[in-house]
């Protein structure tokens, strides 16, 4: 086919990468819609977490079956993609199996046989994953938030893997020159007989088709990520890196509130002097979060990273006892709303035009927010260091501080604290009475 196919290849490759770059740009823009938060501390510890948790998948294997299978697919997929390097060089320069001309046959054979074995392992793991999702009724894949697109998404990725792995093996099996080497075809030599008796031309056609479909498939996959929970294969790394390092129980103190409180507590402060200053700053700061732009950017990165695995929800005491709250849904809602806001900005030449919707109520209801016990089970369970609790707390803050919309009992509790220094209506002067009670 010569030069024409090289050009065609280059066009497809650059289009694929170009679209991907555009997606990455939107992704960055959307994450930056969140509030600023400085997370530049403790670099060595963050790096260590990234290596252990994201690369080493230390939290995945806490559930041995799915954890092990996931490692197989992950390692297989990454290593087999080394093969893509060869495909790209061959495609651009019209060579065939460039690896053979730069590496000794034995080394090349070793590499390809490793890829072939991994391809089979990936296929096996993917089939088990499919059965877990579709045949065995595993509770965490059945929740209400997992119907429709999220369920389809989970399966589409599995089909992708099957197709890509099969194409790779077929490509090797129908490559007569490669089979003749008798090195590297540990698996494909058993597939080759399926094609025996075919004309050499037909075989070549099948081999070429598999080759083209393989690389096109990978480019499509790359661009599918943006719309899928599979974004985690890229984002798990930065997400774990920027994950929370402070004790799980520690909630951040709001600095704006601190300023106000200090002013109120300072006997020397002139209450009138403060007013013009705050006015000069324009709009008073909004407390808590009612929409995605109010959340710190890390929460938005969290949302894009969420794999929808449901490990969080399957440990959530509220969810386990039938409440509406599901930490996974909190993450999925945040992402869906962020996507919606992103599209709005795209459609309106770079500025967000209010659409009468927000994360609160339109996606996440107060009923879900108030069901949380702040137990941190979800945070502990997440294999990629996502913190659903921080979003819940930000939104509760908005409900209470901006809308005074706490449940009545909590309002009573809070006015007790305000008046008596205890959540119950007892007098502070009685605080030590226990000492003398029998």
């Amino acid at each position: 086919m010569g030069i024409l196919s090289n050009i065609l290849f280059a066009i497809i490759l650059f289009a694929g990468i170009g679209f991907f770059a555009k997606n990455v740009k939107s992704l960055f823009r959307n994450i930056k819609l969140g509030k600023d938060k400085d997370i530049s501390d403790n670099k060595p510890e963050r790096l260590k977490n990234m290596i252990n948790i994201a690369l080493g998948q230390s939290k995945m294997v806490k559930r041995p079956v799915s954890g092990f299978l996931h490692v197989v697919v992950y390692v297989g997929f990454i290593i087999i993609n080394i093969e893509v390097l060869e495909i790209i060089i061959d495609g651009l320069f019209g060579t065939h199996r460039i690896g053979l001309s730069v590496l000794p046959t034995s080394v090349y054979g070793f590499l390809i046989s490793t890829f072939e074995v991994l391809a089979v392992l990936v296929l096996v793991a993917v089939v088990i994953f499919w059965i877990r999702r579709n045949v065995i009724k595993i509770k965490r894949f059945l929740s209400s938030e997992m119907s429709g697109w999220p369920k389809a998404d989970g399966n589409i990725i599995l089909y992708f893997e099957v197709v890509l792995m099969s194409l790779f093996l077929i490509m090797n099996a129908t490559d007569l020159e490669f089979q003749a080497l008798s090195s590297g075809n540990v698996i494909s030599q058993f597939i080759a007989p399926l094609f025996s008796g075919m004309a050499e031309g037909t075989l070549h056609l099948i081999e070429r088709s598999a080759w083209w479909l393989h690389i096109i498939g990978i480019l499509v996959f790359l661009n599918y990520l943006y719309y899928s929970k599979h974004l985690h294969i890229l984002l798990a790394f930065p997400n774990v890196y920027y994950g929370k390092l402070t004790p799980k129980g520690q909630l951040p103190n709001n600095p704006t509130v601190t300023k106000e409180v200090m002013l109120m507590m300072d006997p020397n402060a002139d209450p009138f002097a403060a007013a013009p200053e705050t006015e000069a700053e324009g709009e008073p700061e909004k407390f808590g979060a009612s929409d995605v732009q109010d959340l710190p950017w890390i929460n938005l990165l969290n949302a894009y990273t969420c794999t929808e695995c449901g490990r969080c929800t399957s440990e959530c005491p509220a969810n386990l006892t039938g409440k509406k709250l599901s930490p996974r849904k909190i993450m999925m809602d945040t992402r869906d709303r962020l996507t919606e806001v992103g599209k709005n900005i795209d459609a309106n030449k770079g500025v967000f035009v209010p659409d009468g919707k927000q994360l609160l109520n339109d996606y996440i209801t107060p009923e879900e927010l108030w069901a949380c016990t702040s137990c941190n089970a979800c945070v502990e369970a997440c294999p990629v260091s996502i913190d659903p609790l921080s979003i819940i707390m930000e939104m509760r803050s908005y409900l209470v501080m901006e809308e005074s919309a706490a449940p009545t009992e909590l309002n009573n509790m809070m006015s007790n604290i305000e008046n008596n220094g205890a959540p119950w209506p007892y007098n502070q002067q009685d605080r030590l009475n226990w000492k003398n009670e029998a």
Partner: protein, 263 residues
Amino acid sequence: MSEQLNVPTMAELMAEGKQPDILFWVGSAGSYDDRAKKITKAFVKLLNKANVNFAVLGTEESCTGDIAKRAGNEFLFQMQAVMNIEVLNAYDVKKIVTCDPHSFNCLKNEYPGLGGNYEVFHHTQFIKELLDSGQLEVTENTFKGKRITFHDPCYLGRANNEYDAPRDILKKTNATLVEMKRSRNTALCCGAGGAQMFKEPEPGAMDINMLRTEDALETKPDIIATGCPYCNTMMTDGIKFKEKENSIVVKDIAELIAEAKGL
């Protein structure tokens, strides 16, 4: 049992020109709640027995603000915190111990950012220290042959990574320690955290404390040990609901050790 408790206040010690080694933060539940007051008193008995030089704030103590913060009222939390910090710093407090993991978490992690820097202990950590240093001993066999299961408080365990201190103490009692299927970092919440203690639960299939009580019952325990006044209430209610209050007791670790010592 009616032996007089020795509970000096910071104000009293200050008047005598004395400074205690550690402040006992009693907390709102420990001060007012009838069940939690028993835990407070048991812990004081241990402190007295070990001759710990401690004091309480008494009427100068106020809610940490932790519950307000978890309920979304950052303003109320910070007001409480700043007021408490003012008192604590005026008394030059350096160390604090508390029986409430929520106060523990709040004092330890959230007060420093507002100017309150203290070394904070949960009472199980403190009791363990007393046992390890020999200031307190349990050789008694009160719990020999009894099955005890420990329910991890979220704010001690997951929130602050302390899983061992309570278990180390229980191991010294000659009891048989049995673990629930969900324990340590996968322990199920009792249902009281995040201000749930102060409101009705949202509609659902069951209450969280029932599910946790079922976890505990699976271990066929004689005693359910707790380390938090709120967990204690939740588990006590659960056991009552399951009509097991005649065969299973729910007790705080401080109460168990005080009992082992015949206090």
